[in-house]
Symmetry: C2
Subunit: 368 residues, 2 copies
DNA sequence: GGACGATTCTGAAACGTTTCAATCCGATGC
DNA sequence: GCATCGGATTGAAACGTTTCAGAATCGTCC
């Protein structure tokens, strides 16, 4: 990202055609506050005031300056403003996978709240890679970003450490953190895993597969742990739950996992996926192989993205309040940013998930 | 969005606690190139060269300066660089709906190509609203963005006009434009519409609904026109094709359209949707109402997003090369940006769509 | 021994804002 | 007629870079 040194070599010896200066800076963009000041016969300070503190300027001057701004097509330079202010008016947002509608929804909620507060948002995709995450954080630092909303891909707390080191306000999204360490908004993954597993156990399943990789991601780990605790609470042995790891959390990984699942014997009667993308991919493989859902294998997803309800077999899923998650995180960040004098108290907010039962896990009679 | 005037009132009378200056600027971020220069006993110019033109600096100095940078945690200020350079190192990207996996895929392709070229990307969502689009373009202008990739929401060419007026390099994405006017990369929507409609007509359907709103959007208009031309080419009357407009192009609009469709009599035997989101929403309604697909109603979507294949009934769809679209647009923009001296020739590229037949439109015997 | 080149470094200008102390001016109060 | 006040405006500093003309140093060649 923004690799330093890509520019210089190519632009070393350019003719640099000086643009004609006869007209007052014709190629818009090049019109500065000085040109406006000159055009209106006032000082630059006054022009600045017209823009930022109109009530300080007499009506007559204000109108005159506004007219010149219009005429010259003046657009103020955000970089100059930033330089002066010492920080930008942007918030960086870093999610694990923008192609996952769950995160798209989270981002949408956050963006809406932040824009309402006059802050721009730069949404970036770490692709669950600590290296890409670090690159983006470096980019944010160069931009003197105002704050960061991040779902960390880095599993050792280096991300949090680095942000705290820089003094950048941040809020963890979809990941919990001790309140002393910083703000966080998450959804109770332990509970979600428990809900989903208990539902399958209730339906009589005694061989359940948990499909979901990267147990270094707390989301996956907690959902699995929740499922395990449901098994234990129901008085079953640990081996009722089989863990099938995947390296990514997308549809393609779900398809692969489906193939592996079909090779298992004895074959599980139910599958619990770490997210809906995996479940949808798995469903494709099962469908293609002629395996019936839920008759042969019951399926439960996680996130309840919009496409879960429209799936080949409408998908039972653990719904997470994605929009609320984003909005809440944004509010927390805004609180920290604006309350600059007041000693901001970090908060740890944990939202609750909800099981949405659909066809893919319709109740069955225990068969084995 | 970055509303001017939100800041000033709240920060008018703040105590502004001057940070301790004993340590060399402890709260990172505040370390400037001057601090590094002082720390290393060189001039600021030399520090700048260490960073940007290392080959110009003696090894000894380079190492010394690098060490100081490390020690002080210096991070260069992008806004200062921008101010000096006159433009940012960012490209703005504006799509109609980021929640639509099709655009997510386009954005991903573009981002990848641009990052490889050392440019950052700011992806924004106009929500198909000309007003929001204009706001974002204004934001881009203030940021002195290097170039813009845009799928215009504004249907009169105002967007293009405004960009050309600013002199900002741009490429239209998923929308065609005469090569004299600027670069564009699109997919042949006329052809796509024809493919889809011909497929349904071949299967014997004689009452086909086209579901898709906002015919002011060329994508929708062309797909509809393509469908109409297929009807004409097959020698049928115009009224074989019924147009059912929707105001948005998302899953919820598809659900609504489904309800309206069910109220029609005679009921169409096939539906062609302007995109997959509509088709998936429609499918949900049909499924809930017990209408069988494709037996009672055949369904064809558009875009072939990943979720189409995993739908309740795997969806026949017109595949568009989303990733390629984004990548190609990025390449065109890069060509225009880098070839600053060379007279850049605008190009109009039209990619071809492809019909992917799945269960939702399985062949049937003509019944009426 | 002086001229010249190459290499390395310096110092200052410039980028376009915002902010703030200082100035100006007309009106008000005495 | 003078001091004072308040509102409107000015002018310059500062923000943190990059760039570039020039200075310093050293070696080489005539």
């Amino acid at each position: 990202m923004i690799t330093p040194g890509t520019g210089p070599p190519t632009m070393a010896s350019m003719p640099r055609s000086t643009p004609k200066r006869d007209e007052p800076a014709r190629s818009a963009g090049r019109v500065g506050i000085k040109d406006v000041a000159r055009g209106a016969g006032v000082s630059v300070g006054t022009v600045s005031n017209v823009i930022n503190n109109p009530e300080m300027v007499s009506e007559e001057t204000r109108l005159r300056v506004r007219a010149v701004i219009e005429r010259l097509g003046y657009v103020r330079s955000e970089s100059a403003r930033q330089l002066r202010a010492g920080h930008s008016r942007m918030v960086g947002m870093l999610v694990l996978d923008l192609a996952n509608p769950f995160f798209a929804e989270v981002a949408k909620g956050a963006e809406h709240a932040l824009r309402a507060a006059g802050l721009g948002v730069m949404v970036c995709n770490s692709a669950a890679s600590p290296a890409e995450e670090a690159e983006y954080l470096a980019l944010f630092a160069e931009q003197r970003i105002r704050g960061v909303l991040v779902t960390p891909a880095d599993t050792g707390g280096r991300t949090v450490e680095s942000l705290r080191g820089q003094g950048t306000p941040f809020v963890l999204v979809d990941r919990s953190l001790a309140a002393e360490e910083g703000c966080s908004v998450s959804v109770d993954d332990l509970r979600g895993g428990t809900l989903a597993a208990a539902h399958l156990l209730d339906a009589g399943h005694r061989r359940v597969a948990f499909v979901g990789g990267r147990t270094d991601l707390p989301q996956v780990r907690d959902r699995l742990a929740g499922a395990r605790s449901a098994v234990a609470a129901a008085g079953f042995a640990d081996d009722v739950l089989l863990h099938l790891a995947t390296d990514r959390l997308d549809v393609a990984a779900g398809r692969d996992a489906g193939a592996r699942l079909l090779g298992l014997s004895p074959r599980p009667t139910a599958v619990l996926c770490a997210n809906d993308l995996l479940a949808l991919g798995l469903l494709q493989t099962l469908y293609a192989a002629g395996v019936r859902v839920p008759e042969d294998i019951a399926l439960v997803g996680y996130d309840d993205i919009e496409f879960a309800a429209a799936a080949a077999v409408p998908l039972t899923s653990v719904r997470q309040p994605a929009g609320l998650l984003g909005r809440t995180a944004a509010d927390l960040l805004l609180d920290e940013i604006t309350a600059e004098g007041v000693p901001h108290a970090h908060r740890r907010i944990v939202l609750q998930p909800e099981l949405v039962v659909r066809d893919s896990s319709a109740a069955r009679v225990p068969s084995s």
